[in-house]
Subunit: 199 residues, 2 copies
């Protein structure tokens, strides 16, 4: 029965990934040490060898999310020189990310978050702000290249972009996948582009 011993760093990674998977597939309510341990192949109490407690695990998950969001921005920035095109690609990536990880949305609003230490809220805000700032950079770039209207604050545009994706994602997973995300985001993007494009 005994699992092979592993370095703490490896275990921490495994545990965070497992937790994110649980949240993604079954919601934050289903996130308990028993389940996490089960996936990693450990006994519940073993989790405490690598994390101070469940709260710390959640923190680790948030870091994981931060990384993935950043990676998305980096990817689209690398894929395209045109900032507008990059934003468009980011919309696709972001919606895919949200759909594949239902639980990410729920994590942000989760009770586990708001009941947790005050710090938690601040941390989530930080993660989102990180992401927003990366997006803002793209937007500013677009403005400097005269592709995006200059009469809107880049940060405001970034927030709008987030909203563009968020609602469809919510509806998609409330509808068990029946809501037409693709169609919705396509139309929304068209309208959005018209709103921000310099012309």
């Amino acid at each position: 029965m005994a699992s092979e011993k592993q370095n703490t760093e490896i275990r921490q990674e495994q545990i965070a990934v497992a937790a994110l998977r649980i949240i993604g597939q079954h919601g934050t309510r289903a996130l308990n040490v028993v389940r996490i341990a089960g996936i990693v192949g450990l006994v519940p109490s073993a989790i405490y060898r690598h994390f101070g407690g469940k709260d710390d695990v959640i923190d680790a998950v948030l870091e994981l999310v931060r990384k993935r969001l950043r990676a998305n921005v980096a990817a689209v920035a690398a894929e395209s020189r045109d900032p507008l095109e990059a934003l468009r690609l980011l919309v696709d990536r972001h919606i895919t990310f949200l759909c594949e990880n239902d639980g990410v949305s729920t994590l942000i609003f989760s009770d586990q978050v708001y009941s947790g230490p005050k710090k938690r809220k601040v941390k989530i805000y930080g993660v989102i702000n990180d992401y927003l700032q990366e997006i803002t950079k793209l937007v500013r770039d677009g403005q400097e290249k005269q592709l995006i209207r200059g009469d809107l604050e880049p940060a405001a545009i970034a927030v709008m972009l987030l909203g563009l994706v968020q609602s469809p994602a919510i509806l998609w997973h409330l509808s068990e996948g029946n809501f037409g995300v693709k169609r919705q985001t396509e139309q929304a993007w068209r309208a959005f582009e018209r709103a921000i494009r310099n012309s």
Copy 2:
């Protein structure tokens, strides 16, 4: 200690309102029968005289939310003949609603929701769809009056509008009220209007 006896219908109303208040102020995690009973002025077990269980209470809260959302649309439709103006007013009202009831956003994503019976998800979807349909009517009206571009599906515009408000609301309450919702929504509305206005 004994509370005065009250009709079940009155109690149900009181309980639902109390629950919404708790969710709004302290999140869904804080929603427990003890607290609800405390606000209403009853003993926990008394709740079960009026509801089958906690799940039923949550359902009642959802109905409350549905009512309030509908009331908002009705109000702005009455306030203004111009659909575009009405939409603008609705944005204000909706953001106010979300800010005054932090927990409404969290309720939608809540564990309590997703862990509950399958029906729950369907119900929430229904509440949002109700709201979306009311908004869609406004939009269609605007299109018929040639005020809103006809090349966008009214339903898609409604979803966009929701997203316009949702993100700022999230950021606002993650930031403990520091995020500039007003500034954000003003800019977002300007851009949004430009995107949908017929010109």
